[in-house]
Amino acid sequence: MTSTGPRWVRYASGAVMAVVLVALPFMFPAFRVNQFVTWMCLAVAAAGLNLLTGFNGQISVGHGALYGLGAYTAAILVTDSGWPMLATPVAAAAVCFVAGVVIGLPALRIKGLYLALVTLAVATLFPALVEQFSSLTGGSSGLSLVVPQDDCPRGRPECPVRWESPIDGLASDQWRYFVFLAVTVVMFIVVANIVRSRTGRSLVAIRDNEVAAEASGVNVSRAKILTFGTSAAIAGVGGAMLALNNGRVNPTSFTLLVSIYLLVAVVVGGAATIVGPAVGTVVAGLFNDVIAPELPGRFENAAPVILGVLLVIQMLLAPNGIVGQIRDLQARIAARRHGGDPGGQTGHLATPGGTGTEPEDLGSASGT
């Protein structure tokens, strides 16, 4: 992933971003800060999905289920097995990695729209799974995370998860915000490193042309399965964060809508860009948590309509998402400045496995 634009612009915008992120919990009331933390959880899961769908071209409409699996893993480990809270995201990652590999195996043969269909079914199935195994998950009434203390039997809300700030002057919601921010930043750095590595380049190569990637020595099957696993693991970390933040997990928090939300965040922010999922989550979060509740009573339910319409418009006019669009624009400006052709067009939404629609004449025409 190549960033364009002068170096100082990147540093300056990074600095501004850092200042804003640090200042936010001091500028907003606790319930907002709590929402921001929820957005972080979703952003991490979206970053995982982006690795799979954006960079590798495997469409998943089922990452809500993996997000949920991560959340339940964390909740059960804390409540039943007395794990320390911050160790649970690691366990969630491991569990979800395995689950991702299991889903990834059939995905080797099922592609494109059909993979979307299978994962859609996974997403729809997940809440039913939770209810089926209610002895473990608490079923439809959900599961409260309780810190294991002798006087606190499982499932009793008297001893909920607490986030007491070790620093004077930092309220508990602010402390929690910074802990989760740190985890989020780490996860995004992990994704960035994967994408920039050799492996990352082979993921993109597979997306653009599977046969060519295979021919140039990439082990396509292995790469695709590992991507599914890694993507699931990252989504699971997001889910674990959510469970730890809310102190409660509920099957209704992991319906198909969450999967859709994650996919929307990726596409709106910019598929196959590193910060895209974060940008997309913030935009979607602003829309759902800040703007939608302000809609006048009669139009309370209009939010999904507006979201749907905006999405269609975006897909038609700016299919590369916010970050992708900005990058295209920068590339075009740079190209004009250097007098070259605009090579920065990023076709993220191109087919996995085949890009050519040019008529037969083209290849040879450019050669003559």
């Binding site: 052709d341 004449d361 290849g363 040879s364 025409a365 050669g367 003559t368």
Partner: protein, 235 residues
Amino acid sequence: MSLLEVSGLRCGYGIVEVLFGLDLSVAEGELVVVLGANGAGKTTTLRAISGMIPASGSVRLDGTEVLGRRPDQLLSAGVAHVPQGRGTISALSVEDNLRVGGYQRSSAEVTEDLEMWFEVFPRLSERRTQLAGSMSGGEQQMLAIARAFMSRPRLLLLDEPSLGLAPLVTREVFDRLRDVTQQMGSAVLLVEQNANLALDFAARAYVLEAGSIVVSGSASELQGDEAIQKAYLGL
């Protein structure tokens, strides 16, 4: 006035320009061939004329500008196009392919013409209910030509009918094509790499090189001019 009058036709894919202001014309009932090497822009020319790809310039049919119309709209104006690779609809039977060819005509007319084409091409008649995709290349080319004629076009655009066919089969396709066009009285704009065959077939010829017409004249002139043959036609 010519039936088809193309002037200043320009076209490209993305940033790659393929045609640089092309001029050509076809008169009513005339057989015209555009010759050129692989990649000269022959296919693009036909695709631009029939509205399959966006282009600029002018394409007039009987003096009416038709550039920018969709292929089906051009067909109702009397221009049928047999694309490169024949374009038979592989999941449909031979008969259904022919029926689709007559889509814009009444079903009585279609049924009548259907029988006529089955007489002209007995081989198609034998394979009436067979899927088009299961036929040989030569048979598919015959089907594609018959299908295009199902619309009773005034002008047929024909893209490299010899492609992928054995020489003997190609010869047969051209022979049948000559008979059929005579019978139907349609004009044909053919693009071909196989100059010998095409010049035997056509009355007039253009030579296309790198997106521009470099030579034009009657077929016999071109056949007689050794310099042109050496320079452009590789004969």
